[in-house]
């Protein structure tokens, strides 16, 4: 547990069974894939030797889909069908997206999440993101020479439930098994902390292309504990480009550029912004399709002036996170800078002034998140011996609650609660004889429902008629280790139950995912079935392998009869897995899970007892 170095390759208990696992940084501007090879985490390159994949997807009239640099180059020619910064639309309605007016897309304001009409039809941001992920999956499989066991996908720490669910859906759609959604600043902290054997309170300031996160962590002896997190899910380098873009329009006297010219000006703005990190003065020259000439020059001081409000905007979440953590800026031992936008000198300077210390910029801000994600993927895939693993304790960024009378929010899980977590709250009926109750699940810090994000609505029916206030309806919120919420409601006196996985209003429904998966195949039916069969077979193999390993270690927890029953269940599952019937395997898997549940519980029990054996003084009073 106390391991903080990575110089020594982590040895798996069975090294020959190294599972191929990757970390993916699905960024607003660029995306990367990384893995751990021979104990070292590295980013994988494409065939041209590039690590960064531009997060740009172009839909062509002939049905082709282009991802990355080629699509990036096409954006000025074919802006409508070339989607950039799609991350800004994930889990978002049209009204939530800023600068819509300067975006060259044909938006469709669908229920929940905005969609984009392209030459290949209406696309959801989930589908567009899935194309980026698919490109990275193929790159990884080619580079590693095999099918991936799974992937850790990073998300901004400040992403809400809808945005996380959309990201997970995109990964599923791209054919990836998601081991975990990992918060970007946390991933960076893993990479930084392991590399530098850091101990103490650290802040990660992560300003990406479209999102801003601040996380405060306590690092100690192999434990990464997030104390508080905050941020702004729609503030990033793109906004600095946009300020520059507006400055260029103003100073060149252009009022309404065409979509294509707007794209070219935005690309120019980004280029100028990047050069201003190095040079004091940068010329801005270009000829637009309209014939307008831009011939300007900008000083860094002007750029600093026009973007000062944006930098100041990042410091508010920083203050909030510190207040939630109960810390003063000078108690922070180091500030790790992450995200390409932290290359801007005035950002570094503002952060340095706030914390009273020079921020840490010795890690590549572009790759550190993917590297940390790869390290975590390696752990989650089971490639390291348990005693070498670190422990990661992350939190939920925004409070979760239920709408009550008068449009107010009753918070059930507060922000910064360590996940996984569950909380329950009792509600009661408002009228005599009321037999149904509708629930509205929201996320956010404000007291008014209208100021929070609506996540889901569901109903509990069949409440026995009672006088108002007599029924006891217990609503339980469970947030898993991915930060995803599920909600259940139960009438306490009769046990009437309603359960909902929170995703309907902003995510995609299951059938939509299934339809999209189908659409991705030429021989939809056959391929779907083959894929389903393969998935069940892999799961069966995994279950058998894990159980046999567990039996090798803990066989004494079972008596002879129990052992025989479990062995029989293994044999039955093996036999089914050799067949070609996905449904039969699924049925055997379920039967097996029931048969092995008791064994799993006893092993968990044993390991908890072992964990406490070292310092337990009193006997367990059970």
């Amino acid at each position: 547990m106390a391991l903080l170095q990575i110089s020594e390759p982590g040895m798996s208990t069975e090294p020959h069974q190294h599972r191929l696992a990757v970390g993916i940084d699905l960024g607003t501007t660029n995306s990367l894939v990384a893995t751990v090879r021979n104990g070292v985490a590295l980013c994988l390159q494409d065939e041209d030797g590039r690590m960064l994949l531009s997060s740009v997807v172009q839909y062509l009239a002939d049905g082709q889909i282009v991802v990355g640099r080629k699509a990036q180059a096409a954006q000025a020619v074919d802006p409508r069908n070339t989607i950039v910064s799609v991350k800004r639309f994930m889990g978002r309605g049209l009204k939530d997206v800023s600068h819509v007016e300067t975006m060259p897309y044909d938006f469709v304001d669908a229920e929940g999440m905005v969609r984009l009409r392209t030459v290949q039809g209406v696309k959801s941001p989930v589908q567009v993101s899935a194309e980026i992920l698919k490109d990275l999956r193929v790159r990884a499989e080619r580079s590693l020479g095999g099918e991936l066991t799974g992937a850790v996908i990073t998300v901004p720490a400040y992403f809400d439930d809808a945005q996380r669910q959309a990201t997970k859906d995109a990964a599923r759609l791209s054919g990836l098994n998601v081991l975990r959604l990992l918060n970007e600043p946390t991933a960076a902290a893993i990479a930084y902390g392991l590399e530098n054997a850091s101990e103490g309170i650290y802040a990660v300031y992560d300003l990406g292309g479209g999102t801003f996160d601040i996380s405060v962590l306590r690092l100690s002896r192999g434990v990464f504990e997030v104390v508080a997190t905050n941020g702004d899910a729609s503030l990033g380098g793109d906004d600095f480009d946009h300020r520059l873009f507006c400055w260029m329009l103003d100073n060149a006297g252009i009022s309404l550029p065409s979509d294509r010219d707007a794209r070219r000006l935005l690309m120019k703005a980004r280029e100028v912004k990047e050069r201003l990190s190095l040079d004091e003065t940068v010329p801005v020259r270009m000829t637009l399709e309209s014939g307008d000439e831009v011939d300007l020059s900008i000083d860094r001081s002007v750029f600093v002036d026009i973007t000062r409000p944006l930098v100041a905007k990042t410091l508010k979440p920083v203050k909030k996170a510190l207040r939630d953590a109960g810390l003063e800026p000078d108690q922070v031992k180091g500030v790790v800078m992450v995200g390409g936008a932290t290359r801007m000198p005035h950002v570094q300077q503002a952060v340095g002034e706030f914390f009273g210390q020079t921020p840490l910029t010795n890690l590549d801000p572009d790759t550190v998140v993917a590297i940390g994600a790869a390290m975590q993927a390696n752990v989650l895939a089971g490639n390291r011996a348990t005693e070498d693993e670190w422990l990661l304790l992350d939190v939920i960024p925004l409070s979760l609650g239920i709408e009550t009378m008068g449009g107010l929010v009753e918070k059930i899980i507060p922000r910064n609660a360590t996940i996984p977590t569950a909380r329950a709250q009792d509600f009661t009926t408002f009228k005599d004889g009321q037999t149904a109750m509708s629930f509205h699940v929201v996320q956010g810090e404000r007291e008014l429902v209208s100021a929070c994000r609506s996540l889901a609505r569901f109903e509990l029916r069949g409440i026995p008629p009672m006088v108002a206030g007599a029924a006891r309806i217990r609503v339980t919120f469970q947030v898993d280790a991915d930060g995803l919420l599920s909600v259940a409601a139960r009438e306490q006196t009769t046990g009437v139950e309603a359960r909902v996985e929170v995703k309907p209003s902003y995510g995609l429904a299951d059938h939509e995912i299934a339809d999209m998966l189908k659409a991705g195949f030429d021989n939809a039916r056959d391929d779907m079935e083959l894929r389903g069969l393969r998935e069940q077979q892999v799961e069966a193999e995994r279950v058998v392998e894990a159980t046999e390993r567990a039996l090798a270690a803990d066989a004494m927890l079972l008596n002879e009869t129990e052992r025989e029953a479990l062995d029989a269940a293994i044999t039955a599952l093996r036999t089914a897995a050799q067949g070609q019937d996905a449904r039969a395997i699924k049925i055997q898997l379920e039967a097996f899970n029931r048969a092995s549940n008791e064994f799993a519980s006893r092993r968990m029990d044993k390991s908890i007892r072992e964990a406490l054996a070292g310092h337990r003084i009193d006997d367990l009073r059970i």
Binding site: V379, A481, A546, N597, L612, I622
Partner: protein
Amino acid sequence: MLDLKQDFFALFGLPVGFSVDMDRLEQAYLDIQGKVHPDRFAHLPDADKRLSMQWATHANEAFRTLKSPLARGQYLLELKGIDPAFETNTAMSPAFLMEQMEWREALGEAREAADEEVLEDLARRIRHSNRSLIEQLAVQLDEQGDLEAAADTVRRLKFLEKLQHEINDALTALES
């Protein structure tokens, strides 16, 4: 067998009582999370994953409860069958009600003044008052076994916690 219904003290191998060795609590918590956390089970079958999530959730809840003096005091009272009844005023002592009014007035004035220093000063006074109430609660629970008095102290602490939240919100509002 260990089960999810056992009390939080038993989970961490600690004696039941208000005074808790914080280092021991934290170490026990980390040791247990080290064994049950979902990250340890990500490559295992669904049955193990489910079990892991339940245990890790339970450990988080237990740690959260025992770490905070207010939550711990309230939990101890619950274990002994006492409901602090936060919602009903009937159980509250006149002294407590008087104190509530005074604090409310102070908060109202500080908010009115929109003065960061006044708010910070009020926060300091509340922290001070909080500390002495916690010391009092320790005596009431661990030495005197006076549960009714302890319930009154827990109610006061709960009220101060709400005030602290409101001050934080007011400070945040000042900044934006």
